[in-house]
Amino acid sequence: MAFPHLSIRLGLVALVAVLGGACTDSPPEQRATPDVDQVDPSGQSIVFWYQHTREREAGLQEMIADFNRTNEYRITVRGEYAGDYDNVYNKMIVGLQGGTVPDLLVAYQNQARAYYAAAGIVPLDPYIESARWGLSAASRADFYPAFLRQDQVDGVQICFPPNRSMEVLYCNLDWLAELGYDHPPRTWDEFAQMCREARRRPFSRSANKSRSLGFLLDIDASRLASLVFGHGGDLVTPAQDAYTLDTPQMRAALSFIGQLVREGCVEQLGEQYGDQREFSVGQVLFALRSSSSLPFFASAIHHGGIGFQWDVAPLPSVTGTPVVNVYGASLVVARTTPERQLAAWLFIKWFTEPEQQARWVRVSNYFPVRRSAAAALADYLAENPQFRSAYRLLEYGHSEPSLAGYQQVRRMMQEAMVGILEGDDIDRTLARLQRRANSTLEDEYRRAARAE
């Protein structure tokens, strides 16, 4: 019998456990990358696994076709949809065991770290620095440094950013005006006050005035990370050698949102994209989502919803300076042959050129990773004011941990989040969360020590 859909997540847990064991038994082997300047990528055919569907997939396939047609080395990239991020990870981890890996694939930083630990991908520094195939100093300086840093492990570039998105607060400006505000919330107190007033005074154009809320909280580690960043905290130490999940900032973030839940002006999200749906019909004042959802929000509000003025803003920050959670999957190059690896890098290099970046932004609504792409996007920014608002926040980006076990920790964070919102003791829950999260790091250290 086949695998029922509902068991996939459980399956992934089991799979990670099995492969975790496999990684423990066989120490990672980081073979030396040959001198890439001497490698000839001509005529290589490579496979690229991605997670995009529909319009994004169509746009990406067009770009791939252009690359195949125009690159001077006759490299052929074959783009293949490999399921969502979890499916891609699953496929790659299993593929590493069976020796059936693609040449290029999308990966979140923590996933890339797991591949790297299993010697399944190659570091990209030799390619970036190559005199023949690499990026010039000016090109490198053109990338947002934070994005490149996000993709490094101990100073090694294990993946490369093709795009980024960030968590932004979607605000119903017309409703805020009805409540007497002419701006999105600037402080947490103001955010709380707006939520309370939204509960008391439904939006005049709401589709259902009997339901009026300030905010719908998605039980998700990235949402929690954004709240913690806004309260001046972080999830890990600056050196990323320990989790910092039992901190006054984490306590403040969860207590704050817990209080609003108890007051009834914030509720836990019960259905996937329910916040997007309720926001579009004027039942929820704010929604916290990825900026990549901008076209979905716009379409929901104006082609199905009730139509109103809206914008995006950063979450309030206790420091006064916005801190936005910037994330996004990157590209990794699988360990195959020097020729294929180089061909994969050349595709990455082409894809991150400013003109291709501008093209990809138009297709995907992701943010570009290079500053110079903005020049080619002037008209797009003018036509998409919400995208422009979010784009301006890029310099305030802060990222979540890029540790191999972070996927596991995310689940722990979500469990703790639900527990605390449902009345568990916050001190005990956070102390346990901290202990469990750090134990995943200890496992990683043990594996690394054995490998050495």
């Binding site: 086949a2 695998f3 996939i8 496979v47 293949e80 399921g83 299993v94 069976g98 749906r277 082609h303």
Partner: protein, 250 residues
């Protein structure tokens, strides 16, 4: 799900109870946008092969466990039952490694082909158990009479016993069909192109990382569910009978 599949996007967003006008176009859009034609055909082939294979191997395994006496029979049956306790997701890696090995070691292409999608699931402990229980419940006089008429085990199985097993066979077929129809993780693992992928992959196209179009998603879900519903309606009497006869009823 059915009502939402006929709504406009606005109606799904507003949580309307009933569509103002039936949006038949949602079905056409869903069919076109997710290339359901191809996925539908693939799913039918995969389910057909899997049902056929499961029935064949389950019958051949259940019969000796039910009707033949040999040393270690109960132990073999116990081992088969014990495999029911292994989560299927745990078998994913070994199955994949086996398929990869076969792909490399035999002249046949296993990856990106029907065998990879069907062969690992053609043996089902649950199906063997279900059929064995039913076969055991048949009177031994049948076998005695068949022996007197000169029939051996093969003839007895295919000419006498199997026609009596219609209900459990249809039940096994139905369970296998549903499992195969809903499969997503395994097909994604062993295939790389839409040419081999089932309808669940098509359905996944409507849920992106950034948002969902519920009306199209529901239309797609209705399309994907329809064959299972039709199959169930056609065999519901035998299905219930099969479950009852195997002693699985609550």
């Amino acid at each position: 799900m059915l009502l939402a599949s006929f709504m406009t996007r606005g109606e799904t967003l507003r949580r309307a109870l009933w569509p103002q006008r039936l949006q038949w176009g949602n079905y056409a859009d869903a069919w076109r946008e997710a290339d359901f034609g191809l996925y539908f055909k693939n799913s039918l082939i995969i389910a057909g092969l899997q049902v056929g294979g499961t029935l064949l191997f389950s019958v051949l395994a259940a019969y000796p466990l039910a009707r033949m006496r040999f040393r270690g029979r109960e132990l073999v049956f116990g081992c088969i039952l014990a495999t029911l306790m292994i989560p299927e997701s745990v078998t994913m890696v070994p199955n994949f490694l086996t398929i990869t090995w076969l792909h490399r070691s035999t002249p046949f292409a296993w990856l990106n082909s029907w065998p990879a999608l069907t062969v690992p699931f053609m043996v089902s402990a649950f199906s063997i158990f279900l059929l064995r229980q039913f076969m055991r419940s048949q009177p031994s006089e049948l076998w005695d009479a068949a022996r007197i008429d000169g029939a051996g085990h093969v003839r007895f199985l295919f000419q006498i016993l199997l026609p009596l097993c219609r209900a459990p066979l249809l039940t096994v077929g139905m369970f296998t069909f549903i499992g195969s129809w809903n499969a997503l993780a395994w097909p994604l693992l062993v295939t790389n192109t839409p040419d081999w992928r089932p309808i669940s992959v098509g359905l996944q196209q409507f849920v992106s990382e950034a948002g969902a179009e519920i009306h199209l998603q529901m239309a797609g879900a209705c399309i994907a569910t329809m064959p299972v519903l039709v199959a169930y309606f056609l065999i519901q009497r035998e299905f219930t009978e099969g479950i009852s006869a195997s002693g699985l009823k609550g």
